[in-house]
Amino acid sequence: MASSQPGKPPLAGQVANGQRPLQPGLRYPSNGKTVYHRPLNRSRTQELSQASFAYLFGEMVSYAQKRVTGIQDLEKRLNAQGHPIGLKLLDLLLYREAPRTQTRPLHIIALLQFITNVLWKHLFSRPADNLEKSSNPETPDEYMISDNEPLVNQYISVPKEMSQLNCAAFVAGIIEGVCDGSGFPARVTAHSVGTGEEGELWPGKTVFLVKFQPEVVEREAYLSKS
């Protein structure tokens, strides 16, 4: 981390003559293959076992649950776990796009379509179920992405006393990472909208509320004018 802190032993990285020597602390994997030797394109059908994901995700939730003060705090931690994934996926998925459509999203709609189609298909092998703009005229900066059956929640049962909790906050964090990375800072939260009634079609339906910062809306208005 600290490349040029005075007083640090030369292990942390020397800079001499503008050229960086191989750092003695650097270790190569035994087969000589680094992250740079692996291809970025994966075949479309390569999928992960859902059981192993559910197991890992369950551990992530219980890890996040340690020493939290409340449900909001827990959701915030899940959100923080997803955020860096969004930042990374943004560039990975753009890289995998065909050269003609390889464009950075410039407008809110283009960004949200990228999320509901490209990102959702990559993560869950299907597009998101709905995307709508808030109908409330006082909140033109809010958009809603709905998922009838979030994959992350499939094996999560929320105890009664924590009924406010929605572990899809993790996915909200991924969305937030994509938005932040592409220059559309936003707050994204996950909300359960199932009513809990008997015979409901989608009891686990979740809405991701995307609230963009005011400067994003301002820029959007300016860009659409010119």
């Binding site: 490349s3 960086r20 191989l22 992250v35 970025l40 990374k88 943004l90 890289y95 999203p105 592409s182």
Partner: protein, 162 residues
Amino acid sequence: MSYYFAIIGTQDNPLFEYEFGTSKQGGDGIARFAEQARHMNQFIVHSSLDIVEEVQWGNGQMYLKCIDRFYQNYVSCWITGGNVKFLLLHAPQPASANTSRSSTSIGANPTSPQTEEAIKQFFTEVYENWVKTIMSPFYQVNMEVRSPVFRSRVAAAGKKYL
């Protein structure tokens, strides 16, 4: 032709820099910046960040082509989806004796379509390696890139195309 390549993070912080010369037309791949011009490169590159911010919302392409010029220094830019900028400063050699031979080379015409294309290919290759860098689970946004493998990949791309 001498090149100075820098990767600038989202907070306008430098993440990586590399200086090299042309390998085309029998070049030896060594940068020939005048000693007093060398430390200016960083200033020139960073001063074009303002222009990047204007141009980046104009179209969604990642390759923004040649965006800035400061005397004989031309700055080309590539912007990633994550708002990280790759900036390449290219300075053609002052007219030398064999101008007739090198007049069509990419070195002598910093704004020609051929040069634009060569730089695009260079950026594309760096971008591929950049995505690999950020996909590392230990890489966080705006962290300096110190991998010698990345450095050698950038050097190889420079040698191949520029």
